[in-house]
């Protein structure tokens, strides 16, 4: 009797766990599909973005030509600001400021993938992932995905992917306790060929002042000994290391990027003049984005990321020169 029960128990256990593994695989397959959709599809639509007590509506035009993404974003509330970006530069049309600001993108041609496909396999170690039942978003059948953190060092996500194409239709960002931090949702979307004319700004910047970021200002030669973070939350690995000039600072900084495959934290290390008065240090936040500033060894260390306060603090405090 007992052995039959335990056999059933183990069978049940086996079914539960294998089911779990299948669910995680399915979620990974959907994440891949979503990633590919954003790089492959043309679409045009209106979405809302809610964060804190702010609610905004935007129109977006997304076009892919010869593997190159071009995008236009138009604010539908307040000043009719627009952003047109391609893989080389970002143009910000700010009619309320009578200005156009042009920024060169610093990442390489392909851009930095939002989701790193090669890291997807490991995600199960730090997130529990599940598929939900088909729902409806923006009038289309959508597949819900739940990605919840296993520890307090990252946020949770609920994503809704278009059932046919995989395009992201809705996203919730939550803290570890499930409290909603940010929401994004398409209210209307058309997927299919978009004419090139739809990428033209409504206000083409005539009579406005153009501000161009200097080309040379963006990247820099390595300066000094490289730094590194010694303690990282589980799963975070160095994804990129570059030297650059940060706009407005006109100072050379080392930029380290750490990622767990979904969440990303940047570490900036810059040499400081010992005579500068101690100023900004400690924790700051802008909505779900946290930053921690501290001084170490004659340098200022700043960590920034859309992660909980604990994560930027832990990483910042563990940064030091490489031995």
């Amino acid at each position: 009797m007992t052995s039959r029960y335990s056999a059933r128990f183990f069978l049940l256990l086996f079914l539960l766990f294998s089911g779990h593994a299948v669910a995680a695989d399915d979620v990974r397959a959907w994440l891949k599909k979503m990633h590919a959709a954003a790089q492959r599809l043309d679409y045009e639509g209106v979405f809302v973005h809610q964060h804190g007590n702010q609610l905004e509506a935007m129109r977006i035009v997304h076009k892919v030509e010869k593997g190159m993404v071009r995008e236009r974003l138009i604010s539908l509330n307040g000043a009719p600001r627009e952003i047109v970006r391609n893989e080389r530069e970002v143009l910000c049309y700010l009619p309320d400021e009578n200005s156009v600001v042009v920024e060169h993108r610093k990442t390489d041609d392909k851009g930095f993938p939002a989701i790193m496909p090669e890291r997807l396999a490991e995600l199960g170690g730090y997130y529990t992932m599940q598929l939900g039942r088909t729902e409806r978003v923006a009038g289309r059948p959508a597949q819900p995905l739940s990605i919840q953190p296993r520890d307090g060092f990252r946020y949770g996500y609920r994503l809704w992917a278009d059932h046919d194409t995989g395009l992201l239709l809705k996203a919730d960002l939550m803290d570890g306790k499930g409290k909603l931090l940010e929401q994004f949702m398409f209210t209307q979307i058309q997927i299919g060929t978009v004419p090139a004319s739809a990428l033209q700004p409504d206000n083409p910047g005539k009579g406005m002042t153009w501000y161009r970021e200097g080309d040379a200002a963006s990247s820099a030669e390595p300066g000094g000994r490289p730094w590194t973070a010694v303690r990282l939350p589980k799963g975070f690995k160095l994804a990129r290391q570059v030297w650059r000039m940060v706009p407005m600072r006109q100072k050379k900084v080392e930029h380290l990027v750490y990622s767990d495959g979904l969440a990303t934290v940047s570490v900036f290390v810059e040499k400081i003049d010992p005579s500068t008065k101690p100023g900004m240090e400690g924790l700051s936040n802008m909505g779900a984005v946290h930053a921690y500033v501290m001084r170490a060894d004659g340098h200022q260390v700043t960590t920034v990321g859309e992660v909980p306060a604990e994560t930027v603090t832990l990483i910042a405090k563990s940064v030091g020169p490489m031995r």
């Binding site: 995008e71 992201l168 006109q250 900036f268 900004m280 930053a291 700043t302």
Partner: protein
């Protein structure tokens, strides 16, 4: 000098350095334009409109402390603080502050449609203990965003923050508040 300027924007300069910089600013139009650009980028990232009036008032307050410095600049800044018309304040402010070619038609049109836009208080988007840290944090956030589209999806979130309109501060600031800014600044 640019490094000094960015330190000034971040409120990191001491009294002496600030005075030196203001003297240079008064004489150097190109540097004023750069200064404008720093503020503009910061404002853009914080999703605010630029607040030339506030900047002008701050300069005026600082110049008051050393009247021998840069009289023309002080005069313009003084006019800003005293102007009766909100629109007029913004008009003068923008042209002086950006150091750009005047384009009265566009600017006037703008001010009739959205007079409060230029006169919003600089609503700090960062919750931070450190006054003046926002510009630095914003600069870093931009760099970070290049590598980390938020929410791990799409890559448009960073730009959403740029184009969206911060409604919290709209219409709150009155011409009195402009003088208020100058007063509080001079205490620093």
């Amino acid at each position: 000098m640019k490094e000094k300027l960015s330190a000034f924007v971040d409120n990191e300069l001491d009294e002496l350095e600030t005075r030196r910089l203001l003297t240079t600013l008064a004489a150097d139009e190109a540097l004023r334009a750069t200064w404008g650009r720093y503020h503009l980028i910061g404002a853009m990232l914080r999703r605010e409109s630029i607040t030339p009036v506030e900047v002008a008032a701050r300069v005026a307050a600082r110049l008051d402390e050393s009247p021998s410095v840069a009289r023309p600049l002080a005069r313009i800044a003084g006019q800003l603080a005293l102007a009766a018309s909100v629109a007029a304040v913004a008009l003068v402010g923008v042209q002086w502050w950006l150091g750009s070619q005047p384009s009265p038609t566009t600017t006037v049109a703008q001010n009739t449609t959205q007079p409060v836009e230029y006169l919003r208080a600089s609503g700090t988007r960062w919750n931070t203990q450190q006054p003046g840290a926002e510009n630095t944090l914003n600069a870093f956030l931009v760099e970070h965003n290049e590598f980390a589209p938020t929410s791990g999806v799409g890559g448009m979130f960073p730009y959403v923050r740029v184009v969206s309109y911060d409604s919290r501060d709209a219409g709150r600031v009155t011409p009195e508040a402009v003088t208020g800014t100058a007063a509080s600044d001079s205490k620093r």
